[in-house]
């Protein structure tokens, strides 16, 4: 449905998007994650044909953004991170206006608008002025507008920004519903947990470069790079010995002795090795009181990855 190849966008001296490639199938829900300034909005604007890439190709349903931007526009629903509001217009007028802009047949318009208002829950406020809407309502209106041409691909730029928790839950529900209708959804956020529940794919970028792309499980597995294990010994004097013991084992890194017989290390290996490691340690005579593998949350991983790339660059610059 969406195929992005070696996409690059350069603004003056900034490489906003740098050699980005990925592909989405029909019905996929893909989360697009990255910190501020990572290039999410730029990528989405290029997909929506609002911006011309410096290099690379994007195909939506097999058609290229370079050759058929008008056909692509009619096929996608783009929800930008800003709203266009107008004075003196009601929600219904607003949708009616966009229905005309999409050149929807006059006969089909009213039915389409009613259907969408039902779906997004705008029915009660159809006659309210657009200017007077709250943020959550505006976001619904924004979504309704993007849905008016019954798009096959939805591109949503930070739809959850500024919503309260309840509205977020509702938004997630709406997105899942869209996916069930067979639409491909490409949705960005800088908060990872917000999307991990509803997405089946994730694309993580930083400074315009792809950091990882795959199904949510793959990413969680791939990103974790093993486990963080916390060991606590009854006898604190044994810690030094344990350090020596661990350092000799393969796949163990970053051994950090702490206070009161506590010791932390990371294991870059499969989960199956954890019980074996514990058995070996006990057999060696260490008085293990606690042996707890901790899986880092997606959030931790994300922080670490983006932190690393930033740190790396700073290092190079200095």
């Amino acid at each position: 449905m969406l195929k992005v190849d070696n996409l690059t966008k350069i603004f003056g001296k900034t490489r906003a998007v740098d050699d980005l490639s990925f592909e989405l199938e029909e019905g996929d829900v893909c989360g697009f994650i990255g910190p501020n300034g990572a290039g999410k909005t730029t990528t989405m604007r290029i997909i929506a044909t609002l911006e011309e890439p410096t290099d690379g190709q994007v195909r939506v349903g097999g058609e290229s953004i370079h050759e058929e931007p008008y056909r692509i526009r009619r096929r996608i629903g783009f929800m930008p991170d800003h709203y266009g509001t107008y004075p003196d217009m009601t929600c219904r007028d607003y949708l009616e206006f966009y229905a005309r802009a999409y050149e929807i047949e006059p006969k089909a318009r009213a039915r389409r608008i009613d259907g969408i208002m039902d779906f997004t829950g705008l029915g009660d406020i159809a006659d309210k002025k657009v200017e007077e809407l709250s943020k959550g309502m505006r976001q619904r209106l924004n979504l309704s507008r993007a849905l008016i041409n019954d798009p096959k691909l939805m591109v949503m730029d930070e739809p959850a920004a500024g919503l309260d928790p309840r509205a977020r839950v509702e938004l997630r529900y709406l997105i899942r519903n869209l996916a069930e209708q067979g639409k491909t959804v490409f949705v960005s956020s800088h908060i990872l947990t917000e999307l991990s529940e509803i997405c089946d794919h994730m694309l993580i970028i930083d400074q315009g470069r792809k950091i990882s792309f795959g199904s949510v499980e793959e990413i969680q597995r791939g990103l974790r790079e093993g486990f963080e294990i916390r060991v606590r010994l009854v006898d604190p004097s044994q810690v030094e010995g344990l350090v020596r013991f661990l350092v000799q084992r393969p796949g163990i890194q970053d051994v950090r002795p702490g206070e009161n017989g506590v010791l932390l290390f990371s294991l870059r290996d499969e989960a199956e090795r954890i019980p074996a490691l514990l058995r070996e340690a006990v057999n060696e005579g260490f008085s293990v009181m606690e042996f707890r593998p901790e899986t880092p949350t997606m959030e931790d991983v994300f922080m670490r990855i983006t932190g690393q790339t930033n740190g790396g660059n700073n290092g190079n610059g200095a």
Partner: protein, 497 residues
């Protein structure tokens, strides 16, 4: 096709939106009622005034015309503000995503402004004919000024839209407001007076060659070249229209070819119109137009991305019609296309020059009529100086800015030099200069910048008027070849990355 056009006008989303907003806006309603009340009041006062027969009519008429002008101004100003707001809200993007074509957007905007204007117009017109009943007015005059209003208004509306779309105010700031008020102060009396007096008056009594010919467009007296006039009017409207489209066009999908084509065809029609009406006397008006049009077109559109965007190329490939393909080729977006357009301008200038030569003018007329021939040379002059520097080959904005700055600075410098050389102190017989300095200053001014060339050409008689034409013919050709070379060079730089 016809269905699509009708749909574009009547089922236009932009029109729907603007009219909905307009109808829901209370202040506008108040304005209407005020306008009607005003018309009525003026008529009532004029009726009750004891005056000489035949004087009240013109007074009432003038007043009503002024009101109409004011109303038109308000409509245009509101259109301008509304358009600026579309930029500050970034809603134009949303229309783009909706796949609305640029033509539809601009058409909707223009039609909505026109609808608002016509509404007011039909409120006022009945009172105007009532003013006729008061006496002292020519029925033809009323008809003509009404027609004039209806014809002028779309031009002004398009012009203001064009400005709004180009300036892209993020916010209607204080300076913009001040400017708008100043414009209103200058504009309202101007429009009011013109409209009150009617184009009829202007066409017959004043305005010089320019004003006169511009306004004679609307005078119905002379029907010989009516077709040409209508063609000119329509083309000019279309030109403004496509200028509007082009200023909101994304880079992949420019309307540059339409703009170039219309610039060329407006120039050609204008020359033809001048040729038909009053050739030898009016020839300078045609020549100014050619010169200015080709210089500006070249300065803005020559330093530009070289190849037309892929979308435009594909559109060209898809058309089967030879004429459409030729049109796409001759006026293609990008600097190569501009070069072809400049070549057409050059040919048009040659034809004009030959036509002037035929009519046996004075040497000075001959000298000035060869000016447009030199336009490509001036366009070539400043970029060629920058070509050795790698940075300039890809920075089109720099090239553009340098061209214009070069013209202005060198032009002004040469003019100063020239006026010193021409000053009486300098020309005193005993001062040791025997005209060489003057001749060189004049020659430099003629050759190095269009600004000085223009001014010097009108005041100075260098004594080589007869050879000036051939010089300009040759330098224009050199300029065209030079521009081709520059375009090739830039393309090589672009390919190398």
């Amino acid at each position: 096709m016809r269905w699509r056009l009708a749909n574009g006008v009547f089922d236009n989303a932009m029109l729907y939106k603007d009219i909905t907003q307009w109808l829901r806006n209370r202040t506008f309603l108040a304005l209407f009622i005020g306008l009607l009340a005003l018309g009525e009041a003026v008529s009532a006062i004029c009726m009750s005034l004891p005056g000489e027969e035949g004087r009240l009519g013109p007074v009432a008429f003038g007043f009503l015309s002024a009101t109409m002008g004011l109303y038109g101004f308000v409509v245009i100003a509101m259109g301008f503000m509304g358009t600026s707001r579309e930029f500050s809200n970034r809603t134009f993007e949303l229309y783009e995503i909706a796949g609305m074509s640029l033509e539809r957007m601009v058409l909707g905007k223009v039609v909505s402004i026109l609808v608002q204007f016509l509404f007011g117009f039909f409120c006022i017109v009945p009172f105007m004919f009532f003013a006729f009943l008061l006496g002292g007015l020519d029925f033809g005059l009323i008809g003509q000024s009404a027609l004039g209003m209806v014809l002028i208004f779309p031009l002004i509306a398009l012009l203001s839209l064009c400005i709004a779309l180009n300036v892209r105010l993020k916010r209607v700031s204080v300076p913009a407001r001040v400017l708008l008020i100043l414009a209103a102060l200058w504009f309202i009396p101007g429009v009011a007076i013109r409209m009150a007096m009617g184009s009829y008056y202007l066409a017959h009594h004043g305005g010089g060659a320019w004003g006169g010919s511009a306004f004679s467009l609307f005078s119905l007296g002379n029907t010989d070249d009516l077709v040409l006039r209508i063609a000119l009017y329509v083309q000019f409207c279309l030109w403004l229209f496509y200028l509007c489209c082009n200023s909101i066009a994304p880079p992949q999908d420019s309307r540059e070819h339409q703009v170039k084509f219309l610039t060329f065809s407006v120039s050609a029609t204008w020359v033809a119109l001048v040729g038909c009406s009053n050739w030898p006397a009016m020839a300078p008006a045609a020549i100014v137009f050619l010169f200015v049009a080709s210089c500006i077109l070249g300065a803005i559109l020559f330093p530009h991305r070289l190849d037309p965007p892929l979308m435009v190329v594909n559109r060209r490939k898809r058309t089967r019609w030879l004429t459409v393909r030729l049109f796409h080729y001759a006026f293609a977006p990008g600097s190569m296309g501009t070069l072809r357009t400049l070549f057409l301008f050059y040919l048009l200038s040659v034809v004009t020059y030959l036509a002037v030569t035929e009519s046996g003018p004075s040497p000075q007329e001959l000298a000035s009529s060869s000016r447009p021939l030199q336009a490509p040379f001036f366009l070539f002059l400043s970029p060629v100086l920058l070509m050795p520097f790698g940075f300039a080959r890809k920075r089109y904005k720099t090239l553009r800015a340098v061209t214009i700055c070069y013209w202005a600075l060198v032009g002004v410098g040469l003019l100063i030099l020239y006026s010193i050389a021409e000053s009486p102190g300098f020309r005193r017989p005993g001062s040791g200069y025997d005209g060489h300095v003057r001749a060189w200053a004049a020659l430099g001014s003629l050759m190095l910048s269009p600004v000085s060339s223009w001014v010097v050409g009108t005041v100075y008689r260098p004594g080589f008027e007869s050879s000036l034409g051939s010089y300009r013919l040759v330098s224009g050709a050199i300029g065209l070849i030079g521009l081709l070379w520059i375009a090739r060079r830039c393309r090589r730089a672009e390919r190398q990355g």
